[in-house]
C-alpha cells in the first residue's frame, strides 16, 4: 500500500466505521433564515462528521443521523439561535467502541 492511499478512504467509508443508533427525533435544528445571512458558514468545514452543507439559496442543509455529538457546530456558529443543539434521546446517537 502506498502512503498516498491514506487519502483514498472516502468520507462515507470513514463514517461507516462509527456505530450510530439513529433516533427518530432530530437533536439538531437549524434556522435557515438566520443561516442565509451568514458569511462564515464555519459549521460547514469544522463539523468533523460533515453534517452541514450550504444550499444554492444561501441556506444550510444538515442531517443529524451521523452526529458525534461533539458540539463543534454550535460553538463555532456566530449567529445567535441559528443552531439549536441538544443531546439525542437516551441510548441513541453515537456509540464509541474505541474512544
Amino acid at each position: 500500500m502506498t502512503v498516498r492511499a491514506w487519502r483514498g478512504i472516502s468520507f462515507a467509508e470513514r463514517m461507516a466505521t462509527v456505530d450510530f443508533r439513529v433516533g427518530a427525533r432530530a437533536h439538531i435544528t437549524v434556522d435557515a433564515e438566520i443561516c442565509r445571512s451568514c458569511t462564515t458558514t464555519a459549521c460547514v468545514t469544522a463539523c468533523p462528521a460533515d453534517l452541514f452543507a450550504p444550499t444554492a439559496d444561501g441556506g444550510i442543509l444538515f442531517n443529524y443521523e451521523e452526529c458525534f455529538e461533539c458540539g463543534t457546530c454550535y460553538m463555532v456558529c456566530n449567529r445567535e439561535g441559528a443552531i439549536t443543539w441538544t443531546y439525542p434521546d437516551g441510548g441513541q446517537g453515537v456509540v464509541f467502541h474505541h474512544g
Binding site: C70, V76, Y87, F96, G99
Partner: protein, 436 residues
C-alpha cells in the same frame, strides 16, 4: 425509577468524574443514582492518549491488576515537525513498565465501564440510556434534582453532581458555564487503526505490554493545537487537536489534518498497512484555570470536563485523572454537606478547598498561563520549524565549509522563521515563569 424517591445524590454522567463521585458517595453510605445518556458508560467518550492511574490508588488497591489496560506507557516522545523534518525529545523509562506504573493507554468503552462497575459494586444505582434534560428546582429556586427523558421523569436528590461532560447543559442551565465559548475549546479528532500486535512491538520498539505515546507540535497547518500517536494492544490511535475558532477560520476539514499527519515521513512508517477501525471526534475544554466555572451552587456541584478540569499545559496533557480526582472530591464534599445538613453553596464549599489542596486545582493554578503560551503564534507556527532548522544547521556536514557553531546555527534558523533573538529570550523567560 420513581419520582417520589429522593436520593442523597444524583450524579449525571457515568464517565470518570461521575463514577468517581458515585463511588465516594456510595462508599460513604449515601444513596446515589448515576445517570448515563449512552447505552453503557464510555459510549459517548473519547480521550487522546494516556490515563495516569495513581489517582486510582484511592479507589482500588492494586488497581493495575484489574484495570482494562491496553499498554503501559514506557516511552513518551514530544515531536516538533515541519512538512519534511522532525525533532523529538524521546524519553523511555523501564521504571514505568512495572507497578505502580505511570501512564496507560486504554479504551474508554472498557475503562469507563470498569470504573462505573466500582460504583455499582459499592451500591450506586446506574441508569443508562437516560438523558438528564434539565434541573428540577424547589419553590425557593434551589436545585433539587434533574428532569430525565424517561416516561416517569424526575430524579429528586439533595444534591446534583453534574459530570455531564464538556457541553454540560446542566452547568449552563445553572448559569455556571457560558453557553458557547469557542476560544476555550479544542476539537479532537482521532482514528483508531488496526495493526497486528507484533508489528506494533517491532515498529515502536516495545515488548509485552509496553506502550508509546508521541505528542506532536507543528502538524496542524498553523492552527493552534497538535497531534498525537499512541499504541494500544493491537490498534494504534492517531489524531489531531485543533483550536475551535482557528479551525473555523481556516476552513480546513479536520480529517484532512489527520491525513497530513499520517503521510508525514516521520509518522507514515509506523502506520504502513494499518486500516481504519473507528473514527471519532470530541471537544476538549482547554481554557484551564481561568476558564473554570464556579464549582458549587445551592444543591449542585460540577466536576470533570463539565468543570473544564482538563489540563492542557503543553508538556502535560491530562484529563481522565483530573476527572477522577474532582469526582472523588465532589463525592466527599456532598457526603460532608449532607452530614452537616447544609447542601447550599456554602455547605458544599469544602469541594473547592479539597481540590485546591491536591493536584486537581493546584496543578491548574500553577500552570494557568500554559495554555496561552502553548497556543501562541510563535510556539505554534514558528518554533517547530525554527528548532528543526537549527538541528539541520548543526547536524548537516558541509565540508569543506566549517561548521557554523551553535550561536550561528541559531541565528540562521531564527532569521529563516522570522524569530528575533529578543522574542526568543522573552519566550524562554516566559516559559520558565509558566513551567518553573
Amino acid at each position: 425509577m420513581s419520582g417520589a424517591t429522593e436520593f442523597d445524590a444524583v450524579v449525571v454522567g457515568a464517565g470518570p468524574a461521575g463514577s468517581a463521585a458515585a463511588i465516594a458517595l456510595a462508599r460513604a453510605g449515601r444513596s446515589v443514582v448515576l445517570v448515563e445518556r449512552g447505552p453503557f458508560p464510555g459510549s459517548k467518550n473519547v480521550y487522546g492518549g494516556v490515563v495516569y492511574g495513581r489517582i486510582l490508588d484511592q479507589i482500588v488497591p492494586a488497581w493495575w491488576e484489574e484495570v482494562p489496560v491496553e499498554r503501559w506507557i514506557v516511552r513518551r516522545s514530544t515531536m516538533m515537525m515541519t512538512g519534511t523534518q522532525s525533532l523529538s525529545v524521546d524519553y523511555r523509562s523501564q521504571a514505568w513498565a512495572d507497578r505502580p506504573y505511570n501512564g496507560m493507554t486504554t479504551v474508554r468503552s472498557r475503562f469507563d465501564r470498569w470504573l462505573a462497575g466500582k460504583a455499582t459494586d459499592a451500591g450506586a444505582r446506574l441508569v443508562t440510556s437516560t438523558v438528564a434534560t434539565g434541573l428540577v428546582r424547589d419553590a425557593s429556586g434551589r436545585i433539587c434534582g434533574v428532569h430525565t427523558d424517561r416516561g416517569d421523569g424526575d430524579l429528586r436528590a439533595r444534591v446534583v453532581v453534574a459530570c455531564d461532560g464538556v457541553n454540560s447543559f446542566l452547568a449552563k442551565e445553572a448559569g455556571l458555564l457560558p453557553p458557547a465559548e469557542a476560544s476555550h475549546h479544542t476539537l479532537g479528532v482521532k482514528e483508531v487503526l488496526d495493526l497486528p500486535r507484533s508489528v506494533i512491538d517491532e515498529r515502536f520498539g516495545l515488548t509485552g505490554d509496553e506502550g508509546t505515546d508521541i505528542e506532536i507540535l507543528g502538524c496542524t497547518r498553523g492552527i493552534p493545537g497538535g497531534g498525537f500517536l499512541y499504541t494500544n494492544a493491537d490498534t494504534v490511535s492517531v489524531g489531531v487537536v485543533l483550536s475551535l475558532p482557528h479551525l473555523a477560520a481556516a476552513g480546513v476539514r479536520p480529517e484532512e489534518l489527520i491525513a497530513d499527519l499520517k503521510e508525514h515521513p516521520s509518522i507514515a512508517p509506523y502506520l504502513r498497512g494499518a486500516t481504519l477501525r473507528e473514527y471519532a471526534a470530541h471537544l476538549i475544554p482547554e481554557g484551564g484555570y481561568d476558564a473554570m466555572p464556579t464549582l458549587a451552587t445551592d444543591g449542585m456541584l460540577v466536576a470533570g470536563d463539565a468543570a473544564a478540569m482538563t489540563l492542557a499545559a503543553g508538556i502535560w496533557l491530562e484529563g481522565v485523572n483530573f476527572a477522577i480526582g474532582s469526582g472523588l472530591a465532589a463525592g466527599r464534599a456532598v457526603d460532608r454537606a449532607i452530614g452537616a445538613g447544609d447542601c447550599s453553596a456554602a455547605g458544599l464549599a469544602s469541594y473547592r478547598a479539597d481540590l485546591e489542596a491536591q493536584f486537581v486545582l493546584a496543578d491548574h493554578k500553577r500552570f494557568r498561563r500554559a495554555p496561552s503560551l502553548i497556543l501562541s503564534e510563535r510556539v505554534q507556527q514558528r518554533y517547530p520549524g525554527f528548532l528543526c532548522d537549527m538541528a539541520e544547521e548543526l547536524f548537516t556536514v558541509t565540508n569543506p565549509t566549517p561548521k557554523p557553531g551553535g550561536l550561528r546555527a541559531t541565528r540562521i534558523a531564527a532569521a529563516r522563521h522570522g524569530v528575533t533573538l529578543r522574542a526568543l529570550a522573552a519566550d524562554t523567560l516566559r516559559a520558565l515563569r509558566v513551567f518553573g
